[in-house]
Structures are given as C-alpha cells and as structure tokens.
C-alpha cells in the first residue's frame, strides 16, 4: 500500500515538472520542427504533382464530360481496361506470391540475383518490354513460333496480349511488396508452427499467408494501378484495335491524336481514369489500418 502511494507521488512530481515546461515540452517542439528552408522544395514537389491534374480539370469542357464518358468508345475502353487489369492482377497474384516466397527464402546471393531480374521491368521502358514480348511471343518469336506451328495460337494483337503486357509491367510491384512483407514477417513464426507439428503447406496457408496479407493487399493495389495505366508495352505488343486491345490509356492517346474521338473526350477519359485511380488510392488507405494491427 505504501509502495503504491509512493509511486503515485512520484508520478505527480513528474507531471509537475512537465507542466513547468522543461524536458518534455521542448522535445515535442523539436520533433515537429521542419527547417523553414525545406518548405520551398516541398511546395514545389507538391505543385508538380497536383497542378497538372488541376490544369486538366480547368481545361475540361464540363457540360460535355458526361456524354464523353458514356460514349460507346469510352465505355468499351473502360470495360476492356477493367477486364484486362483485373485478369492481369489475378495472374500476378497467382504467380507473384510464390515467386516472392521463393526469393525471400533463397540464400543471399541467389535472392539478390532473382530480385534484380524480377525488378528489371521496373527500370525498363515499357516500350522496350513490348518489343521484347513481341520477339518472344510473336509469330517469329521463340515461343510464339512454336505456339503458332503446334497449336495455331497467335498471341500478339489479341486481348490476351494486353493481359500479358500488363502483367509484365505490373508483376514487379506485387513481388517487391510481398517479398518485403515476407522479410519483415521473418521465419520465426513459421519455425514455431513447424515445432507444433505443422507441415510446410499448413504453415504457408495458416501462418505465412495471413501474416503477409497486408503486403499482398497493398502489392495487389499497386499492381492493379500499374496494369490499369499500362500503355507502352500494350501499344507495341497488343496494338490499338477498338474493343479488342484499346484500353483506356490507348483510347486517350487515340482521342488526343484526333482519330475517332475528340480531344475533349481525351480529357474526359483522362478524368475518368484519374477518378478510378483515386478510388484505388482510397482503397489502399482504407487497408492501412488493417496493416497496423
């Protein structure tokens, strides 16, 4: 009892010191203080990111935006974009999570090599990726020639090509995100699970997957956003056929160049894509609290 009183007393003494505004108050101020000089580049960076979008919104012919958005060209492109992006994202999750697991559990050197190769599409211009895909899967390509001869399957300039191009550029985002989550989670829980009698598959299903779920979700969102915005590789490998390979970015490009739709509809379509992107961002942020838990 006396001990308790003592500790209470100590606490109140501490509080008094804080109120007098010594150590604690000063510390708080120091932590929140940003050097004034840094506000300038920060504002510049913010402007660079936000002003173009504002410009787009100012330039938009708002009364005609609804009509442009619901035009057959726009709806067809949006639908195709969503279909291919969702398919590509699903594909990326199916192959990307296992790939991330293999990288994360490899030895240091092998993991480094695998990681470098996996992230190559990130640093590669998408156009180059498109050319590479064309030479691999094109009719004269290494795999494409075989597919054509053996099964009569031709991939380039089909909707499948769109999905492949999107997967090619989007997969690294998922793999990096998931591998990071795997490294953070470590193997300690997996080891404990094994000593409790869980085999590898059970450990993966009941321990590893739930632990890295936040990483998978944020990786999936990034992956989907990248697939949705994909242009370069798609243009080269899949072409620009309305209803088959003309996704939103290609429709915007086409509209901007004056073929088919007008520049106004290019802006309207851009705004639509921005709205979808913002929706994805909000989705990502709504998952964040889950990540904290």
């Amino acid at each position: 009892m006396s001990m308790k009183n003592k500790s209470v007393k100590n606490k109140s003494v501490k509080n008094m010191t804080v109120k007098r505004g010594s150590v604690k108050g000063v510390q708080t101020r120091a932590v929140s203080g940003v050097p004034r000089l840094l506000y300038f580049p920060a504002a510049l960076g913010f402007a660079l990111l936000v002003f173009p979008v504002l410009g787009l919104m100012l330039r938009a012919d708002w009364p005609r935006v609804p009509a442009a958005i619901v035009s057959p060209e726009a709806t067809s492109a949006l639908l195709l974009s969503l279909q291919t992006s969702v398919t590509a994202t699903a594909l990326c999750v199916i192959v990307g999570v296992p790939l991330a697991l293999v990288i994360a559990r490899s030895g240091t050197r092998l993991a480094g090599l695998l990681r470098a190769l996996t992230t190559l599409p990130l640093v590669m211009p998408p156009l180059v990726g498109g050319i590479a895909l064309l030479y691999l899967l094109g009719r004269n390509g290494l795999v494409g020639g075989f597919l054509d001869l053996a099964f009569g399957i031709r991939i380039p300039f089909t909707t499948a090509a769109v999905v492949i191009a999107q997967s090619f550029v989007a997969l690294p985002f998922l793999v990096i995100s998931v591998e990071g989550a795997l490294r953070t989670a470590g193997t300690r829980f997996e080891t404990v699970a094994a000593t409790l009698g869980a085999g590898r598959w059970t450990v993966f299903r009941r321990i590893t997957l739930p632990l890295i779920m936040p990483g998978i979700i944020s990786g999936t969102v990034l992956c989907f956003a990248r697939a949705l915005g994909e242009f370069g590789a798609t243009a080269l490998f899949a072409g620009n056929a309305a209803g088959i390979t003309r996704t939103m970015p290609l429709a915007i490009y086409t509209a901007f160049n004056g073929a088919g739709v007008t520049q106004d509809s290019a802006i309207a379509l851009s705004l639509l894509l921005i709205v979808v992107a913002i929706g994805i961002l909000l989705l990502l942020r709504s998952w964040r609290p889950e990540l904290e838990r």
Binding site: L196, G199, L211
Partner: protein
C-alpha cells in the same frame, strides 16, 4: 520416454560437442554463459540445425542420425521438424498475431489433422489449465507479456510433444510474471511424463524446475548432476557466479589448508561430493568455495600481513613478513589459533564498488574474487576504492571439495 542426444557441430569458430540423456518425466536445467551452445543444442534436437555427427533419439525413435559409425543401417536420418514431436518454447512467446489465444493453442492439434471443433475443445481445457480461459477470444496483442507466455506454454503442451525444450522461457518477463510462469511450468511439467530441457541464466529456474543441472561452457557440458551438488559445490567460475560463490582452485595441504597456484592459502571444511566414493588426500587438486560475505578487509593500522609467497604473486606493497594480521583476520579466531593468521591473508587492490543485494560488492583488481560487505562494515573498515587492503576469509564459511570429472562428449 526418454531423450537421448549426442551432437557434434561447428558454426564458425564455435564447436558444439555434447551428449545428454533426459529420462521420462525428468527436467534437466541447462545453464551456461552466453554463447556456450545451449540454444544451439536445443535447435539441433528440434531439427532446426543439422549436426555434422550425432544422434537424437526420443523413446527409441531416431530423429537424427548422421555419421555415427555403429548404427546398423548406416543411412543418415533427419526427421523434419514438424514430424519430430519436439516442442520448443523460447523467451519470446511468438504467439501467432492473427489468431486468438484459443486458436493459438488449438494450432498444434489442427495441424495434426484434428477437426476444428475438437481441437478448440482441447485448447480451451489447456487455456483453463494455465488460468487464462477468460481471455480465450483475445488476440495476442491484447495480452500482457506474462499472459502471452502462459498461452505459449499451453500451445506447446497442447501439441502433445514427446519432448519439451524450453529456451529461457522466463527471461523476457518481469520478476512477478517470471515466478508465476515458473510455478505454472513446475505444475505442468509435474503433470506430464515428458523429458524436458530448460535453458536458463537463472539459478532459480534450476532450483524450482530441475531434477538435474548441467553446466555448459564453450559447447561442452562441463558438469552435470543434482542441483545441490552442481550448484552447491560449483566446479567452474560460471556456476560459482551463478550461485554467488567465490572459487579458488588449489592443492590440499597436510594441515587441511588449500594452496592456490599463486601461493595464496585458505582454510575450510572438507566435504563429500555426493558420489561417496572418495576421500581427499594431501596433494589432491581441490576447489575451495566461499560466499563473498565470508571475506574480511583490513586497512590502516596493519603494516602488512602478507606472506612471502603472496608478496611475490601480488607484488605490490612492501610487507613485513611475520607481523600479525590486523583485526579483520583476528576475527577469524578459529583459524588464527593454530597456524598463524598471516598465512591465510593476502593483499589485494579494491576495484570499482558495485551495489549488491545485502550491501556493497567489493571486487579486486585482476581477480575473479569479490567480497560483499554491508555498508556499515565497509564504512567501519575504512576501505575505499583503489586502496590496497589485507584480505582474509572466514574459514567456517569455506567448503573444500574435489572437482568432478567432465561429462562425456563425442570427441575424445
């Protein structure tokens, strides 16, 4: 059920070379300094590390068998960790953060193929056994450290292991929680017939939980036996520090005194080492152990109560040999009576004083010995940091015994 392990493995410069046998229902406490190989040994038994040579057998079932010549099959065996039925509990409870306390406990049973319902039923019995049925639906993040460790104990035991390995299970807990968990472990281990190894830094763990104690040092088991013997008559410095005793190794003299290699002499009571087979003879290598509180310090009036041999060894102050030692040594009246107190005192320089449970700990420069005095004793002695003082030991508190043989290893 019994655990039998013989292991040899290298990790960098470190070599683990140890054999241990733990009977059904027996708990062996594995004590040793950091990096002595305790955790490595547990990891090898659990199958998380592969030994270069060795056997791990539980209840006659071979879990590991590598490079052991006299095995009939000659084939290497390495059962996967999840098929070993070896439970491992560390200082970090490592509860699965996405599962409730109940689901955590049920995990092992479900992994073995039990239905979710029956696994949950068994798990709630276990949660009850560790006194936590009221937090069954909480996630680990909502539990205190002590509660988490209790759930982890329930989880390890619910998986129905054949062997239990506890790696400093109380190390991360505060004193109160540690003793609660220790009591719980004693109850639970008493209720099972599992061979158990508990690694610890804490002598209390060994006293409360263990039937036998093994001391590990540099990858080898250097002493093993009943706690009363291994800890009561420590044979190495680590064990001595653990129980708070000073050790002096030396040769038994004809007058029953012990002469250390540096010439210091000490008197004490010769005791049996529990094997009952020996009687110590003059010239035998023996260990003298005494608590720090048995040491007396004298300064001031004494011009130097130092024998020639000790002067050579410590080599500091000029000493007038033959002069009687001061009042501190005189307090040791029993010893002073027959053979001259000065022979059993020496000079040493006081190091940096440290707080101790009963007062102040007084280490001596360049020595492993340390005295412990109450503050009043230290003040009245006049001794201060950096002073060279005369040190003597109350012979009534000194025990003299034979060092035991080292435990068996794989390399001979």
């Amino acid at each position: 059920m019994a655990l039998n392990a013989k292991l040899l493995l290298h990790r960098g410069d470190f070599t683990l070379d140890a054999s241990v046998r733990v009977e059904a229902g027996e708990t062996l406490a594995l004590l040793g300094p950091n990096g002595s190989g305790k955790s490595t040994m547990l990891a090898a038994i659990a199958g998380l590390l592969a030994p270069e040579r060795g056997i791990v057998e539980v209840n006659g079932r071979t879990l590991t068998s590598v490079g052991v010549a006299d095995r009939a099959t000659g084939r290497a065996t390495a059962v996967e960790p999840h098929e070993r039925k070896v439970g491992l509990l560390g200082q970090d409870p490592l509860l699965f953060p996405h599962l409730t306390a109940l689901e955590n406990v049920a995990f092992g049973l479900r992994a073995r193929g039990e239905s979710a319902t029956s696994a949950r039923q068994a798990a709630s019995v276990w949660l009850d056994a560790v006194g936590l049925s009221d937090v069954a639906t909480r996630l680990p993040g909502q539990l205190s450290g002590g509660q988490q460790q209790r759930v982890a104990i329930a989880r390890a035991l619910a998986a129905e292991p054949d062997v239990l390995l506890l790696d400093e299970p109380m190390a991360a807990l505060d004193v109160q929680n540690a003793s609660a968990v220790r009591t719980l472990l004693r109850e639970r281990l008493g209720a099972t017939a599992l061979p158990t190894i508990v690694v610890s830094h804490d002598v209390v763990d060994a006293m409360v939980l263990a039937d036998r104690v093994a001391i590990m040092d540099e990858g080898r088991i250097v002493d093993i036996g009943e706690p009363a013997i291994v800890l009561g008559q420590p044979k190495n410095q680590f064990a001595a520090n653990l129980v708070g005793l000073n050790l002096m190794r030396g040769i038994l003299g004809s007058d029953g005194s012990v002469r250390a290699t540096d010439g210091r002499r000490i008197r004490g009571r010769v005791v049996d080492d529990g094997t009952g087979s020996n009687s110590l003879k003059v010239g035998d290598v023996v260990i003298a152990a005494f608590p720090p509180s048995a040491m007396r310090l004298t300064v001031g009036a004494v011009s130097g109560a130092v024998t020639g041999a000790v002067t050579g060894a410590i080599g500091t102050q000029g000493a007038a040999a033959g002069q009687p030692a001061g009042s501190g040594a005189a307090a040791d009246s029993g010893a002073a009576a027959d053979s001259g107190t000065e022979e059993f005192a020496w000079r040493a320089t006081i190091g940096v004083l440290e707080p101790a449970v009963r007062g102040i700990r007084v280490p001596f420069l360049g020595e492993t010995l340390a005295a412990e005095l109450t503050t009043a004793e230290l003040l009245s002695s006049g001794a201060r940091e950096g002073m060279t003082v005369t040190v003597s030991v109350d012979s009534k508190l000194v025990t003299v015994y034979r060092p035991r043989n080292a435990a068996s290893t794989m390399q001979r």
